[in-house]
C-alpha cells in the first residue's frame, strides 16, 4: 500500500474529517494570532491544556477523570494533533463540505457568543432606543362603529340611511345579524386584524376618522358601513417602560450584526473571481 493509498483511505474515515475540522480551527487561530509555525514538530501541552481536557471529560461523563483516564485523553489529544498536522501537510483540509460548513458555523457562533451573555449598560440601551423608536412604538388603536350587510347594494343604501339618522336612533338595528362587535373602542391594531380580517383593516387604514358613516368597507364577511371615530397612532413609551424590550431587541440585533460585521472584515481580505 502506497502512502497515497493510505492517505485516500484516511480521507474516507470520518474521524479524519473531524480531526481536520478541529485542527483547522486551531490553525486558523494560530495563523491569525501570534506566529506559530503550523508545520512545527513540537507539540506543547500546557497545564491549562490538561485542565481543559479534564473538564471536557467531566462534562461528558459527569465525573472527573482518573489519572489514567486523563493520560489517555492526553494521548488522544497528541494523536489528534500529530495526525492533523500531517493532514495539513497533505493538504487534506480543502474541498471538504462537512469541514467547511462546520467551521463556518463555529465562526458565526464565536462572533455571536459575546453578545448572548453581555450585560449592556443603560447608555448603550438608551442609544439603541433613540435610534430605533419605531420598534418600541405602541400599536395604533381604533375606535369605530360598524353595521353589516352581506350585499354591496344594500350596504350602500344603509350608509345613506345611517347618515340621515338622528343621533338617538338605534343604528345597530339596521345591521344584519352577525357575531361581530358593533362598536369597538381603543382596540389594538392586531385585534382589528383578528376579528375583521386583513382586507377590512387595509380599507380602514385608507379612511380618515370622521363622525360620518363611510364605506362600504369590504371584509371576508361582506360589507360594512363604518364610522371611524378615532385612529390613535401609537406613541413611543418612555424608556423605563420598555427597557426589557429594548434590551431584547438590542441583543438580537447585535448578535446578527456581529456575525455580519465579523464576516465583512474577513471577507474584505479576499478577492473572489467567479467564472462566467
Amino acid at each position: 500500500m502506497s502512502v497515497n493509498d493510505k492517505a485516500r483511505m484516511w480521507l474516507k474515515e470520518p474521524l479524519v474529517h473531524f480531526l481536520i475540522g478541529g485542527a483547522l480551527i486551531y490553525t486558523l487561530f494560530a495563523w491569525r494570532g501570534e506566529p506559530v509555525d503550523p508545520a512545527s514538530r513540537t507539540i506543547e501541552i500546557s497545564r491549562s491544556d490538561r485542565a481543559q481536557l479534564s473538564l471536557g471529560f467531566e462534562r461528558m461523563m459527569g465525573r472527573s477523570p482518573t489519572d489514567g483516564e486523563l493520560d489517555r485523553q492526553v494521548d488522544r489529544f497528541v494523536r489528534e494533533e500529530v495526525l492533523y498536522r500531517e493532514a495539513l501537510r497533505l493538504g487534506l483540509d480543502g474541498n471538504d463540505g462537512v469541514v467547511r460548513r462546520r467551521l463556518s458555523q463555529k465562526m458565526d457562533l464565536l462572533a455571536a457568543a459575546q453578545a448572548e451573555t453581555v450585560q449592556p449598560s443603560d447608555p448603550t440601551l438608551q442609544a439603541w432606543y433613540k435610534a430605533h423608536p419605531e420598534r418600541f412604538t405602541d400599536t395604533s388603536r381604533y375606535t369605530l362603529d360598524q353595521a353589516f350587510k352581506s350585499e354591496m347594494g344594500q350596504a350602500k343604501a344603509q350608509i345613506a340611511q345611517l347618515n340621515s339618522m338622528a343621533p338617538r336612533d338605534d343604528w345597530k338595528a339596521l345591521s344584519e345579524p352577525i357575531s361581530l362587535p358593533a362598536s369597538v373602542s381603543q382596540v389594538p391594531r392586531k385585534e382589528v386584524l383578528d376579528r375583521f380580517g386583513e382586507q377590512f383593516l387595509a380599507e380602514i387604514d385608507a379612511l380618515k376618522p370622521d363622525e360620518e358613516w363611510q364605506g362600504p368597507v369590504r371584509s371576508g364577511f361582506g360589507f360594512h358601513a363604518v364610522r371611524l371615530l378615532r385612529r390613535d397612532v401609537g406613541e413611543v413609551p418612555p424608556f423605563e417602560d420598555v427597557r426589557g424590550k429594548v434590551e431584547n431587541d438590542w441583543r438580537t440585533a447585535t448578535i446578527a450584526e456581529r456575525k455580519e460585521r465579523g464576516y465583512a472584515i474577513l471577507r474584505e481580505a479576499y478577492t473572489v473571481e467567479i467564472a462566467e
Binding site: G33, R76, L110, A111, Q114, P120, G244, R258
Partner: protein
C-alpha cells in the same frame, strides 16, 4: 501559547461588533409582569369576549428529533415567528405569519433535551470516549449530510420506541446538568418574550412516552413564569408512566404554588393505549386513577400535522364527515412497528374516548375522559404554521424548498404506506379568555373553554342551558349564555328536560365560508348502551337550494379550481347560528355529552398549493385527497345526572363562569 493566539483572534472577532464588552453573566432586564403568570398585569374583559389563538405544540432545535431532522432555528426564532416577526427558515426561505398568534407553548422533548445538538456539537473524540458505537454512528451520520442526519433520527426514534436508546441519552442523571442549563436559558428567553396583553409565552415540554412504539405523548404546559418553573426540570418520558408524570405535576404545584396541565396527543398512533377502559396494566380502572387523570389532563390535542383524532369511519359508520386526516395514520402506531387493528380504534380516537368516559362514569362515579379539545401543529421546524398555503412541513426535511415532499415517502413507515401527502397542515388552539396572559389562557384550558381547528380561525361559541330561545339572538346573547347556561367545556346538571344550545360559528375573516354546523351527541341510554349521533343543526342556504331532501342535507358544492389551487366564497355562509334543542332527549338517558363540529366549504390542501407552486403532478391517491373541508371542534358540554361532589382543589375552579367571579377572587 496556543491559548494566547486564540484570545487575540477572539478579541479581534468580537471587536467586529460595536457593542460594549462586559463579562457579566446573562440575566436580562425583564419586568415582573413578564416573568410571572401575568395576573393583574392588564385590564381584563368582564367575560371571555374573543378567542385567543395559539399553538401548544412546537418543537425547536432543542428537540432531539427536530435537530436531527435538520432544524437550526431555536426557541428565540420560534417566538419571534409566532408573534409575527419575519424569520429565515433553516432551508433559507423567508417565513412570516399573515396573522400573528396570541400564545405559544414550545414543547421540546424532555428526553435528551438538547441532546442531539450537544451530540452534534461535541468533539468526535468525546463521543468516541463514551464508548458507544451507536452514538458514534449517529454522530457521523448527522455530520455527513442532511439525508443521513434524517436517517439517524429515524433510527433514534425507533430506538426510543423499542427502549434501545444508548444509555448516555436515556439516562436522565447523566444529562441533568446539561438539561438544567438548557431549561433555565430557555425559561429566561420565554420571560423576555412574554408580554401580557400582547403575546404569551408558556413554559412547557413534551413528555414522550412510547412503549413499543405506541404513542402516549403529552405536552406539559405551565401556568407560571421562571421564578417557579426553574424549580423543576422537564420530566423524562422514557421508562416512566403517565401516573408518574401526574405525580410530578402535583409535586410541582405543591412545591411552588404554581400549576401545570398535560395534553395528550396523537392518540391516533397509540394502538388503543391512549384511552383504555382499564388501568394500563389491564386491571379494572379505579376511581382514584380516573380522578387523577381527569384533573391532570383537562384538554386533548385532537388534530395536528400527524393526522386528526376526532373519529374513524369504522367507529362512526353513520357519520359522513368522519375520516378527515385518518388516511395513512390509521395503519399503525407511531414508527409503524405494529399495525393497528379495528379493535384498537376505540382507544385511539377522541369521540370514542368521550363515550368511554361517560360509560366509565356510570361505573366509577367519575369520568377519566372529561376533556376539552384543541388543535396544534407539532411542527418540528420552529415555525408554528397551521395554514394550508403556508405549510412549512412536519420537519426541516420537508420545508417548501423540498419540491416532492407531498409524494415522497416518510421517515415513519414509508414502506408500509405512509406518504408525505398524509400529513395535515396542522391545527391551532383557540382559548376563550378575558385577556392574553399566562393565567387567563391557562385557566381557559383548565375549565376546557377551548376549541380546536384544523388551521382556519373560525370563531365558535357554544352555550348549553334549559331556557334559551330564538329571541336570545336579538340581545346580548353572549352575556345571556354565560348567565343562563354553561359555555363549552362546562357541565349541566340534568333537569328532566331536553337541554337547549346557543351555537354560533363565524367564518375565519380571511378564510373560506362555512358549509354547516353539526352537534355530535354521545350518551348512555336507559339500557346502558353507549350511543352517538350526528345532527346537522344549521347550514348555508338551508331555506333555499339546500332545503332538506328527506332527512339529508344536500352537499354544499365545490368551487376549488384544481389547476390553480384556488376557490371562491360564492357558496357557504359567513356565519351560522342556531338555537337547538336535543330532539332525542328522554328522561332516563344517563350521562351525555354534546360538542359542535363546524365545516368549511371545500378548499385546497397544502398538497394542491405545492402542486401548483412547483408544477408537479400529484399521484391519483394524493390528488383525490388534495381538497378537503377544514373544520373546528368545540370542547363538549356534559349533561350529568348528579352534580359531582366538590373536590378540594388547590387550583382555580375549572368550572369558573358565573360570570368569572370565582376566578377573580382566586
Amino acid at each position: 501559547m496556543r491559548k494566547l493566539c486564540r484570545k487575540s483572534v477572539l478579541a479581534k472577532w468580537a471587536l467586529a461588533g460595536a457593542a460594549t464588552l462586559a463579562l457579566a453573566a446573562c440575566g436580562g432586564a425583564v419586568d415582573e409582569t413578564q416573568s410571572g403568570d401575568g395576573e393583574g398585569a392588564i385590564e381584563l374583559a368582564e367575560y371571555p369576549d374573543r378567542p385567543y389563538w395559539g399553538d401548544t405544540h412546537l418543537h425547536t432545535d432543542n428537540s432531539v428529533d427536530a435537530f436531527g431532522f435538520g432544524v437550526r432555528l431555536g426557541p428565540e426564532d420560534a417566538l419571534k415567528f409566532a408573534r409575527g416577526d419575519e424569520v429565515t427558515a433553516t432551508t433559507g426561505a423567508q417565513a412570516k405569519l399573515a396573522r400573528p398568534l396570541d400564545f405559544l407553548v414550545i414543547a421540546d422533548h424532555s428526553d435528551g433535551l438538547g441532546a442531539t445538538r450537544r451530540l452534534y456539537d461535541a468533539p468526535r473524540l468525546g463521543v468516541q470516549a463514551m464508548g458507544d458505537e451507536t452514538m458514534l454512528r449517529w454522530y457521523d451520520m448527522m455530520h455527513e449530510s442532511p439525508q443521513q442526519s434524517q436517517r439517524a433520527i429515524g433510527e433514534l426514534i425507533a430506538a426510543a420506541a423499542s427502549g434501545d436508546l444508548p444509555e448516555a441519552m436515556s439516562d436522565p442523571e447523566a444529562s441533568k446538568e446539561a438539561t438544567k442549563e438548557i431549561w433555565e436559558t430557555h425559561l429566561d428567553t420565554l420571560d423576555r418574550y412574554n408580554e401580557p396583553g400582547v403575546f404569551t409565552a408558556f413554559g412547557g415540554f413534551e413528555y414522550s412516552l412510547m412503549p413499543g412504539g405506541n404513542n402516549l405523548h403529552r405536552v406539559v404546559m405551565f401556568r407560571d413564569g421562571s421564578d417557579r418553573t426553574k424549580q423543576v426540570l422537564p420530566y423524562p418520558g422514557l421508562s416512566t408512566s403517565p401516573e408518574g408524570l401526574w405525580d410530578y405535576m402535583d409535586g410541582y404545584a405543591e412545591a411552588t404554588g404554581g400549576e401545570a396541565l398535560a395534553i395528550p396527543h396523537n392518540s391516533n398512533l397509540s394502538n388503543g393505549d391512549m384511552f383504555e377502559l382499564t388501568m394500563p396494566d389491564g386491571g379494572p380502572m379505579t376511581a382514584e386513577y380516573a380522578r387523577k387523570r381527569a384533573r391532570s389532563e383537562p384538554v386533548v390535542e385532537v388534530t395536528q400535522i400527524k393526522g386528526d383524532s376526532e373519529t374513524h369511519p369504522f367507529l362512526s359508520p353513520n357519520d359522513e364527515m368522519a375520516g378527515f386526516g385518518v388516511k395513512g395514520w390509521e395503519l399503525g402506531n407511531l414508527p409503524l412497528s405494529a399495525k393497528t387493528s379495528n379493535d384498537m380504534l376505540a382507544g385511539n380516537y377522541v369521540r370514542s374516548a368521550l363515550k368511554r368516559g361517560i360509560s366509565l362514569e356510570e361505573k366509577l362515579g367519575v369520568n377519566p375522559y372529561a376533556f376539552g379539545v384543541i388543535g396544534s401543529t407539532d411542527s418540528h421546524t420552529s415555525l408554528a404554521t397551521g395554514d394550508e398555503d403556508n405549510f412549512f412541513g412536519k420537519h426541516t426535511g420537508n420545508e417548501p424548498s423540498v419540491e416532492d415532499r407531498s409524494t415522497a415517502g416518510q421517515n415513519l413507515g414509508t414502506r408500509v404506506g405512509r406518504f408525505g401527502w398524509h400529513y395535515l397542515a396542522g391545527g391551532y388552539a383557540a382559548a376563550w379568555a378575558r385577556g392574553n396572559t399566562r393565567a387567563e389562557i391557562f385557566d381557559a384550558f383548565k375549565r376546557r373553554e377551548v376549541y380546536a381547528t384544523t388551521g382556519p380561525r373560525m370563531t365558535v361559541r357554544l352555550f348549553a342551558g334549559f331556557d334559551f330561545s330564538e329571541e336570545d339572538w336579538d340581545g346580548d346573547w353572549v352575556k345571556r349564555g354565560y348567565n343562563n347556561g354553561v359555555p363549552m367545556g362546562g357541565k349541566l346538571v340534568d333537569k328532566k328536560q331536553a337541554p337547549t344550545f346557543l351555537i354560533s360559528a363565524l367564518k375565519d375573516p380571511d378564510g373560506a365560508n362555512l358549509d354547516r354546523v353539526q352537534i355530535i351527541k354521545g350518551w348512555v341510554d336507559q339500557f346502558d348502551v353507549v350511543r352517538e349521533k350526528v345532527y346537522d343543526v344549521v347550514w348555508s342556504d338551508m331555506e333555499g337550494e339546500r332545503a332538506l331532501q328527506g332527512n339529508r342535507v344536500p352537499k354544499v358544492g365545490d368551487t376549488v379550481n384544481r389547476e390553480d389551487a384556488s376557490y371562491t366564497n360564492t357558496i357557504g355562509a359567513p356565519e351560522l347560528r342556531a338555537t337547538w334543542t336535543d330532539p332525542d332527549y328522554k328522561w332516563g338517558q344517563k350521562q351525555a355529552f354534546y360538542y359542535v363540529r363546524v365545516l368549511e366549504i371545500p378548499t385546497p390542501r397544502w398538497t394542491l398549493f405545492d402542486a401548483k407552486r412547483f408544477g408537479i403532478t400529484l399521484s391519483p391517491a394524493a390528488m383525490a385527497d388534495a381538497v378537503a373541508q377544514e373544520r373546528a371542534y368545540s370542547s363538549p358540554v356534559w349533561l350529568t345526572i348528579e352534580p359531582e361532589p366538590e373536590e378540594a382543589d388547590s387550583g382555580n375552579d375549572p368550572d369558573a363562569p358565573a360570570i368569572m367571579d370565582k376566578n377573580t377572587d382566586a
